[in-house]
């Protein structure tokens, strides 16, 4: 398989961006990436637009045209990608495959989500309340569908509420060094645990906020990298797996609520492509999908950073903090950056690329050579893992 390189990255400020429209966000991220790659828009041969929830946002992102119109980028194939929280990573996967297949020479993957034009309870909560099956899972919000994992983890592995909340403390500390994060304020364990309960045992500070934001990468085949212009980061492995459905996790008697099979499958495939056998030693930083703090903890195990049941030891030993053995979410994660769903996976790739390029500023992971991103979408149904290297 041909090696693929990222030659341009761009990411907008994440937050409640009342002054920027969906189109503004597309332009902002795209032009940062295009300028970083030192190409012109017309060099792009195909593009993928990742927006997960047009209908609970501003009704934009239903098709590829919502990328073309703000960029005036016409007469090329543009496809909208929708795969819940793995949408952004899936856009990159599609771009990689098109480059390998020779469909185009320069590909753009752009993720954007505009959720904060509505009140939070009018978007994600409303989706769970008013849409979908009238009976099945009715009563859950997104937080609840992960809180049931937390309670089982606490029962089985002796994970404590403090362990879960420490993830939030760590990521908010990291986020305080990221000027593009939604929240840039560190918080204490006490603040996390005493903030308002959302779905027991997860509090508001254990949950990521709905967010506006966009991120973009420009990709080419490695052979087309211009060594004089570009500072390329190479895609070493891409794994994506749909391993269960929307309802099945809550109705499958064999599901243990201790692990996401999708993550394990996606990671296995990505590791194989990248030739990684011992991730904790071979990978220098990881961006994990911490939509709720418990998910990061559980994912340590699914990614093979530790054995099952030992995630609590990684967080207790501060091994995943900046300066630890394997820093996780040095960007601040979803908990600090926020979660514009379609943009998140690409934002993570941009973050890791910045570290591998050595220009991540105060939160730079020293001597980072290999990094990994992870997303989990739906109720643990869809996972993506991307491994990047220099």
């Amino acid at each position: 398989m041909k090696e693929i390189a990222i030659i341009g990255v761009g990411v907008t400020k994440f937050g409640e961006l009342f002054h920027q429209s969906y189109d503004d966000l597309v332009r902002d991220a795209a032009m940062q990436a295009v300028n970083d790659a030192q190409i012109s828009l017309d060099d792009i041969g195909a593009a993928w637009l990742s927006t997960a929830f047009p209908e609970i946002g501003v009704f934009k992102g239903r098709s590829g045209m919502d990328l073309s119109e703000p960029l005036s980028l016409y007469n090329i194939p543009v496809t909208r990608v929708s795969n819940f929280c793995a949408s952004g990573a899936d856009a990159i996967r599609n771009a990689v495959n098109a480059l390998r297949a020779g469909e185009c020479d320069v590909a753009m993957a752009l993720g954007v989500e505009k959720l904060r034009d509505r009140q939070p309870q009018d978007s994600i909560v409303k989706m769970m309340v008013e849409y979908g099956h009238p009976f099945l899972q009715k009563g859950f919000t997104a937080a609840g569908t992960f809180a049931v994992y937390a309670n089982r983890m606490m029962k089985e592995f002796g994970v404590t509420r403090e362990d879960i909340s420490e993830v939030s403390v760590k990521n908010h500390f990291h986020g305080s060094m990221n000027d593009k994060a939604f929240y840039q304020k560190p918080c204490s364990l006490d603040e996390v645990m005493k903030s308002q309960m959302v779905a027991d045992p997860l509090t508001v500070l254990d949950s990521c906020p709905t967010t506006d934001g966009a991120a973009c990468v420009i990709l080419v085949r490695a052979e087309d990298v211009d060594k004089k212009k570009h500072h390329p980061i190479f895609i070493k492995g891409v794994g994506l797996s749909v391993s269960t459905g929307w309802d099945l996790p809550f109705f499958n008697p064999n599901h243990d609520f201790l692990s996401f099979e999708a993550t394990r499958v996606a990671a296995k495939n990505a590791y194989k492509q990248a030739g990684i056998s011992n991730p904790i030693d071979e990978i220098d930083l990881v961006e994990v999908h911490d939509c709720f703090s418990i998910v990061e903890l559980l994912t340590y195990e699914d990614l093979g950073l530790c054995k099952q049941g030992e995630a609590k030891d990684l967080i207790r030993g501060k091994e995943t903090q900046l300066g630890g053995k394997i820093p996780v979410n040095v960007s601040g994660g979803l908990l600090s950056c926020g979660h514009p769903v379609g943009a998140t996976g690409i934002r993570m790739v941009v973050e890791v690329a910045n570290h591998l390029r050595g220009n991540a500023g105060a939160r730079q992971v020293k001597n980072a050579k290999t990094g990994m991103t992870h997303n989990i979408g739906g109720p643990g149904a869809i996972a993506s893992v991307i491994i990047l290297g220099t």
Partner: protein, 461 residues
């Protein structure tokens, strides 16, 4: 003569104490109130399940269902037909509603008895349920209690034999609704020209022999007056059954006479007098007295509620939480109909190869990829595998507990916990035993929309 093959009843989990509704009078007693997700349909469903749980007869043998209520939730639609479908009774069943007066409950019993005696039907299900709230402020003068009661009548031996039934119509009503307005006659007139006249002529006509009965149930607004009339007819006070229903549960309207009958089944020969806008007299000979543990079937340790929560409950069906106004929730009659076997009747699929039982349909077994399944009936009891409490899902009494439940005999289902007005009294954890009950799902109550929820399992029989 027809026989009572089985009986069942259901009282909601909550009560408001008399002293909370009328603190100035210092009365003792409780009034049972339904929870926000209950209505006469769900109450009836539970009473019928309680009724069938006591006998071996299957629902497939039922020929007719008679439903009595004075608090209809439907107009232009038979509650009996709707309930028959929810209960998975035979499609060709004869379904009828009895309405308009609290006497409709015993009327349904009389009609069923006559249909069986005439040899038209062999087994008839009789269900009665009422949910009334008096206008706010009028509670001290209007007793109320929410309940449902069910009987199965058949043509062969059972708990009790119905030995005679009589009904005497009266055109005079004490208090009634005309064009949505409440109308009260001069009480002297309705009492004397209505009640006294009708009761006396009924007693004269059927010529009851007072000595034949060891329990006389006098269900009437004029129970004391009725006692006087029966006394004159040769009955003694010791024969009069004490109305324990009103003090323990409140006045249950269409259920009241039938509940009193159930609570009198330890006696041998019962005369049931039911007056409201006419007289029904039913005599019953008890054949096998059920033990008291059988009679006290459904959980009785109800939870008392505050006056504020009583007011919130009265908004039943209007579930706006503090943070969120619920609008029309997606609901599809077509979806409910085509997924009825799963959603309503709890039919699951068992993998022919590895034996895994699934609640939801699938093409292949997730575990072993086998494509062959056999239908299985899932249980309504189970154990909590994991759970959470949702503080942001809109509901009148947050949080909503979501329970992932492993059903006894296999299958997993995820549903809301209910009857959780006071979460601290309904603590549930991994490993807790729970029971599935049918409740309303629709937050805005615009369409009938019922699904399973779970309650903490209490000792029932």
């Amino acid at each position: 003569m027809s026989n009572i093959l089985s009986y069942g009843f259901y009282f909601p989990h909550f009560h408001v104490e008399e002293k909370i509704l009328s603190p100035r009078y210092g009365r003792k007693g409780k009034r049972i109130v339904s929870y926000v997700d209950e209505d006469i349909i769900t109450l009836s469903f539970e009473a019928v399940e309680n009724c069938f749980s006591k006998i071996k007869n299957s629902k497939a043998e039922v020929d007719a269902i008679l439903f009595a209520t004075t608090s209809s939730v439907f107009h232009n639609r038979y509650h009996a037909s709707f309930l028959a479908d929810l209960l998975n009774l035979p499609k060709e069943i004869h379904a009828l509603d009895f309405a308009s007066t609290p006497r409709a409950g015993t009327d349904a019993l009389i009609y069923a008895n006559q249909m069986i005696n005439a040899g038209i039907y062999k087994k008839i299900l009789i269900v009665a349920s009422d949910i009334h709230f008096p206008p706010i402020g009028e509670e001290p003068r209007n007793s109320f209690g929410h309940s449902a009661v069910a009987f199965i009548l058949g043509n062969e031996g059972g708990v009790a034999e119905i030995t005679s039934t009589n009904s005497f119509s009266s055109s005079i009503a004490e208090e009634f609704i005309y064009k949505n307005e409440k109308i009260t006659y001069d009480p002297r007139y309705s009492r004397d020209a209505g009640f006294k006249h009708n009761t006396k002529s009924a007693l004269e006509k059927i010529k009851v022999n007072a000595g034949d009965y060891d329990a006389v149930i006098l269900n009437s607004l004029y129970a004391k007056l009725a006692g006087g009339i029966f006394f004159k007819a040769g009955f003694s006070e010791e024969q009069f059954a004490k109305d324990t229903v009103t003090s323990n549960y409140g006045y249950t309207s269409v259920c009241h006479a039938l509940l009193q009958l159930i609570f009198s089944l330890e006696k041998k020969n019962i005369l049931l007098f039911d007056y409201f806008n006419g007289t029904n007299i039913i005599t019953i000979r008890v054949q096998s007295t059920p033990s008291s543990s059988e009679r006290v079937g459904v959980r009785l340790e109800s939870e008392g509620i505050s006056y504020h929560d009583y007011l919130t409950l009265r908004k039943a069906g209007n579930f706006n939480s503090l943070k969120y106004d619920t609008k029309e929730m997606f609901s599809s009659e077509m979806m409910q109909e085509r997924e009825k076997d799963t959603l309503q009747y709890l039919k699951g699929l068992k993998c022919d190869s590895c034996g895994t039982i699934y609640y939801l349909k699938s093409t292949r077994c997730k575990k072993c990829k086998c494509e062959k399944f056999t239908d299985v009936q899932l249980a309504t009891t189970g154990t909590v595998y994991t759970l959470t409490s949702e503080h942001y899902f809109p509901t009148s009494f947050p949080p909503i507990n979501m329970l992932v439940i492993d059903l006894d005999n296999g299958g997993r289902i995820t549903v809301q916990q209910t009857d959780t007005m006071y979460p601290e009294n309904n603590k549930i954890e991994i490993g807790s035993k729970v029971k599935l009950v049918l409740r309303k799902m629709m937050e805005n109550d615009e369409k009938p929309n019922y699904f399973w929820k779970a309650i903490a399992l209490r000792i029932t029989n």
